[in-house]
């Protein structure tokens, strides 16, 4: 645990060592606000809820989360510091987890800075605060799942741009697999079981049920197991591709 904590601390400091972190957070907070008010027509809905706010999170994460994770391993390999890091007495698993937790905390900080929205709906009306808390939990878990995919793509290349694009692409597939547009393409010919399987892998449907304020254990298990799976894959890829 101690090693994971030290690596997390270093990675988190690395995020804030450049203004990029602040720009990123500003974009995230600004966009969630703008989308909620202008695109989501927050006032016209005339409801004291954050449904319109959470609805845009998967789409924002699609582009922003791979940007957070893209440097985590690609940069280590490009600059050769991976050799320095992995010849210290830490295991690859500890290094992967340390980096993941740092990135997740970073997303958590960005997410926490959107809480003025929560305050706003409480001033304007009487929202279901339990549902909002679950929405935040769901959003945070989903960010973790996107990050795990992004960090895995980062472990596959030394080019951060490729890591970003590949990360966005895989996250996109996981997000889109739940919407009717995609499922419709399969429904005509594929067996129902396959369509259901594809749909069940969607982050979107899992997240939507969480933002409705329904804590279903299987949704939480789904998101955490997806995260675990991609982190496990990351450990394998880092080990396999160390020399390259």
């Amino acid at each position: 645990m101690r090693y994971i904590r030290i690596i997390t601390k270093r990675e988190l400091a690395a995020y804030f060592s450049t203004p990029v972190a602040f720009v990123f957070i500003a974009i995230f907070v600004g966009l969630t606000g703008a989308l909620t008010f202008y695109v989501g027509r927050f006032f016209d809905r005339d409801q004291a809820s954050l449904d319109g706010f959470f609805a845009y999170h998967p789409w924002l994460y699609l582009l922003l989360v791979p940007a957070v994770s893209m440097r985590l391993w690609a940069e280590e390999r490009k600059s050769g510091t991976i050799e320095q890091l992995l010849t210290l007495p830490v295991t690859t698993t500890q290094a992967v987890l340390g980096k993941f937790i740092a990135a997740w905390l970073f997303c958590g900080i960005a997410l926490a800075l959107t809480t003025p929205m929560w305050v706003t709906v409480n001033i304007l009306g009487e929202p279901d605060n339990g549902a909002i808390a679950i929405g935040y939990l769901g959003s945070f878990l989903m960010a973790g799942a996107y990050l795990a995919i992004g960090i895995c793509m980062s472990a596959l290349t030394r080019n951060q741009i490729i890591a970003f694009i590949a990360g966005s692409l895989v996250c996109f597939l996981f997000t889109m697999s739940g919407i009717d547009l995609v499922l419709g393409a399969f429904r005509d010919w594929a067996p129902v079981a396959l369509v259901e399987t594809i749909a069940s892998f969607s982050f979107l449907s899992r997240f939507q049920s969480l933002t409705r304020g329904v804590v279903e254990l299987r949704d939480i298990v789904f998101l955490t197991s997806i995260t675990t799976f991609w982190l496990f894959a990351t450990v394998l890829f880092v080990d396999a591709k160390k020399a390259g």
Partner: protein, 320 residues
Amino acid sequence: MTVMVEFDHLSKSFGDFCAVDDINLTVTKGEVLGFLGPNGAGKTTTMRMVSGFLTPTTGTARICGHDVVSAPTAVKRLIGYMPEGSPSYDDMTVSAFLKFIAEIRGYSGAERDARVARVAERLDLRDVLARPIEVLSKGYRRRVGLAQSILHDPPVLLLDEPTDGLDPNQKHQVRGLIAEMAAEKVIIISTHILEEVEAVCTRAVIIGRGKVLADGTAADLLARLPDHTAVSIILPAAAAAHAAAFLRNLPAVAAVFETPGEKGRIRLRLTPKAGGIQVEEIAAAVRAQNIPAIEIFQDGGDLDDAFRLITTGGVSQVAA
């Protein structure tokens, strides 16, 4: 003598390419081993395997009895490793980077700060502690790499080209540091700078195409040169013809080569017959003949010649 590092049939292949081919070595405490070889010989790959970064295809290395394949973390605790090019996190300051390494090495609080201060002192880094690593010159970066490798005072130190990019003063300083630490440690230095071998190494291992080609002291390597007992004499041109005729007939001398030198002088190089030439005997004979020699010296070739000879396959025997 305690064996601290043991290479046991260490091999590494990348696909069909065999980078390191069955290396067996033991290194004992107090030895400074120079790991030499042409570029691409497998030096860095070997260092990476011993440090636990790469897993050997077959064979293993043991550090103080710990196997790098089965107990990599134990090995990593015992070694200080400076990778080739000493990569470090460019966005961190020297101080933050060294503190990070110190924490990973298990130090915290006052002990951590004391360790960082000590290596900064030893490597002359105090002036740059607050600067980001990315703005430092190559010499400073190399010394930051060295500083992190000795921070925990490891029993085994692996340095991949430690003086590459340093100016002569810094080289002298780093070699002094290595000599100072040598007695209590095993230090393995990979290099292609041969003067380093004479300056700091007690033993040199030359590898080529992944195999050990030679293993011994610098003097042992020089002895590989066929003419390693050759002698040169510098004398005025007027005396050259007479001297050459006389020297050619000495029993130990195989041939005499004349080359014109500066200020009207001639250099005569005497190559030996099988038994070798004793420079003292030549000096005595020259005096007895009243040859007006200006300089007489052993001229058997240098380590560069030995290195070329060994790595280009000129010498057939392979060290046991």
